[in-house]
């Protein structure tokens, strides 16, 4: 849980809306080798997650499909764990959990954060002061502390860990949205819309939201990687996924007891986490570059 979301600078170009523009956007995006690799990693991870039952040679929960703590072999590509479960199958199934954790956590933090940021930025005055002060407080608690406190209250489970991680990242989204709204608010089109008497709701959703979408998407993409890391860290500490869940952090934690005798049990889930997180980071970088006019220019 030591990773950080780097907040993109607000002047990010609006997301291209038309079809042709979108294609061009994709071209720009995947011109960078990083984004290409990231895209491929995520595509593979997604495919693995969707087709897990077809890909995994064994039931991820079934014990004794091999002898215990067997090193990687032709039959068990990643070896077996202390229950004789096939590690490859567990990691394949674990990808489902990992993606779900990442997406759900980001959904939670994004929804709450964007809402907070928009309301604060749009409303101004005391609403702004209270909300953003609150966000500052959350921010200074650090994600780790918030996640720990949430799990301490809710009790350890994967769902609770996901919620905890989601809550802990709210400030990032709130701040980015807030910053972007402030920029948009001062633009001509917005003032014009306000002048013709558009309703608050309409102003926010029709005018502001589409224009601040791209920085949010960049933050969210990197945010998934942060969520995955945080949740696996919680599972590693025993505060997240519970047995027999093949969550990667939990597999890693269990493997710690015999990481000398069977290093593969800790190596493969660690690699799986690192690679997936890398995929989101690379794609996030690519998106940032493709959407950030400043970066493109230089």
């Amino acid at each position: 849980m030591t990773q950080q979301i780097t907040t993109p600078t607000p002047p990010v170009a609006p997301l291209p809306s038309k079809n042709r523009e979108f294609r061009r956007f994709l071209q720009v995006l995947f011109r960078s080798p990083g984004a290409k690799i990231g895209g491929v990693i995520l595509l593979v991870t997604t495919i693995v997650a969707i087709f897990a039952p077809a890909i995994a040679p064994f039931d991820p929960l079934e014990m004794g499909v091999g002898s215990t703590l067997q090193p990687p072999s032709a039959e068990h590509w990643f070896g077996t764990d202390d229950f004789g479960r096939d590690l490859f199958s567990r990691i394949v199934y674990g990808s489902r959990l990992t993606l779900r954790i990442g997406l759900v956590a980001v959904f939670i933090s994004m929804t709450a954060g964007v809402l907070l940021g928009m309301v604060a930025g749009y409303a101004g005055g005391w609403v702004e002061a209270v909300l953003m002060r609150g966000v500052d407080v959350l921010f200074s608690f650090t994600e780790t502390l918030i996640a720990l406190a949430a799990v301490a209250v809710l009790g350890p489970s994967l769902t609770n860990a996901t919620i905890a991680v989601g809550i802990s990242s709210i400030p990032f989204y709130a701040r980015v949205t807030y910053g972007a709204v402030l920029v948009e608010k001062n633009k001509e089109y917005f003032k014009a819309a306000q002048a013709v008497g558009a309703k608050h709701f309409r102003l926010i959703f029709r005018h502001i939201l589409p224009n601040i979408l791209s920085p949010i998407i960049v933050v969210a993409t990197v945010g998934v990687s942060v969520a995955v890391l945080s949740a696996s860290a919680l599972s590693f500490l025993g505060l997240g996924a519970q047995p027999p869940s093949p969550e990667w952090g939990a597999i890693l934690a269990a493997g710690r007891d015999y990481f000398r005798r069977a290093p593969w049990v800790t190596t493969f889930p660690g690699l799986a986490i690192a690679i997936t997180v890398l995929g989101f980071n690379l794609l996030g970088d690519g998106l940032r570059e493709a959407l950030d006019p400043q970066q493109r220019r230089s």
Partner: protein
């Protein structure tokens, strides 16, 4: 400057105040009966005794009264006692806090030295293989879970090579945990440094300096590096916060006797007074250090205006 100082201070106090409220509420958000869970150890505890404990803890009173009671005790340095063994929570935390701070500060130094150096060279050698290598390393670095990195370091440097001891909380044992935590964050610092340096290098005054015919090293050291560093130093407070958060995980990998380890143990034992104390101490330290670093930065960088 004074106004800025006061504003930061008030902001910090506000955060700590909110923390105290959150901490008081925490125990009420726990599903089930916290008293019964807390005093699970004493199986023989009768319903009357449970009631007595509830009264002693003030849990039978309205919540605002509980808050005032809690605050009254906290302000006198009484954070309550642990459920197990009845030890004063504050002592327990204060004994470990220096360990956590030592780990966090050492890691912060590693992060800054490694991250800034890498970021600076990547920016300076922009577009070359050095840049590519460094930045690839950085993005891989931010993707590796710290707990895994820690285990790998243990297995290589302690178990295989026997260079470092594997246990204990003393200076010998500081190297691996500090490296784990420092390197994980160095990756993101190097990325930030690079982009900040790129900004500086593209500024007009850089071109002017070069045009004036200043030696390249002088240009870099006097203009580029110093200006680029302003943004980096600005992140110190935030970085420290991350180090403190990361320490919770890393302490548990390396059995480092800090407050993070204690926190995890307390969560497993449902030792709520300790969890409350931990959150309070953690938030206070983070707030104070951030303020100090921010002020330091404000003092160093005369360009900043405060309003």
């Amino acid at each position: 400057m004074t106004r800025y100082f006061i504003k930061r201070l008030l902001g910090g106090l506000f955060t700590i105040w909110i923390t105290t409220i959150a901490v008081t509420l925490l125990i009420h958000l726990v599903p089930g009966d916290p008293v019964q869970i807390m005093y699970a150890q004493s199986q023989s505890t009768t319903p009357e005794q449970i009631e007595q404990i509830r009264r002693n803890l003030g849990l039978d009173r309205p919540i605002y009264e509980q808050y005032i009671m809690y605050m009254g005790r906290v302000l006198q340095g009484d954070f309550g006692t642990t459920i197990r063994g009845n030890q004063p929570v504050l002592d327990l935390l204060l004994v470990r806090l220096p360990n956590t701070l030592l780990l966090a500060v050492t890691s912060l130094i590693i992060t800054m030295v490694v991250g800034v150096t890498a970021g600076f060279f990547a920016a300076y050698k922009r577009g070359t293989w050095i840049d590519t290598t460094l930045m690839t390393g950085a993005i891989v670095g931010i993707s590796v879970p710290s707990f895994w990195l820690g285990l790998m370091l243990i297995s290589i440097f302690s178990v295989r090579l026997g260079w470092f001891p594997v246990s204990g909380t003393n200076l010998n044992n500081l190297v691996l945990p500090a490296l784990t935590l420092g390197l994980a964050n160095a990756a993101s610092v190097s990325r930030l440094t690079r982009s900040s340096m790129l900004d500086v290098l593209s500024q007009d005054y850089m071109r002017t300096a070069r045009a004036k015919g200043l030696a390249e090293t002088l240009v870099l050291s006097r203009h580029a590096f110093r200006n680029g560093m302003i943004n980096v130093v600005n992140m110190l407070g935030l970085q420290f916060t991350y180090m403190m958060g990361g320490a919770i995980v890393v302490e548990n990998v390396f059995a480092w006797n800090g407050i993070g380890r204690l926190a995890i143990q307390s969560i497993f034992q449902r030792d709520y007074p300790t969890i409350q104390g931990f959150i309070l101490i953690f938030a206070t330290v983070v707030v104070i250090v951030s303020i100090v670093l921010d002020l330091l930065y404000a003092w160093i960088d005369p360009r900043i205006t405060y309003n």
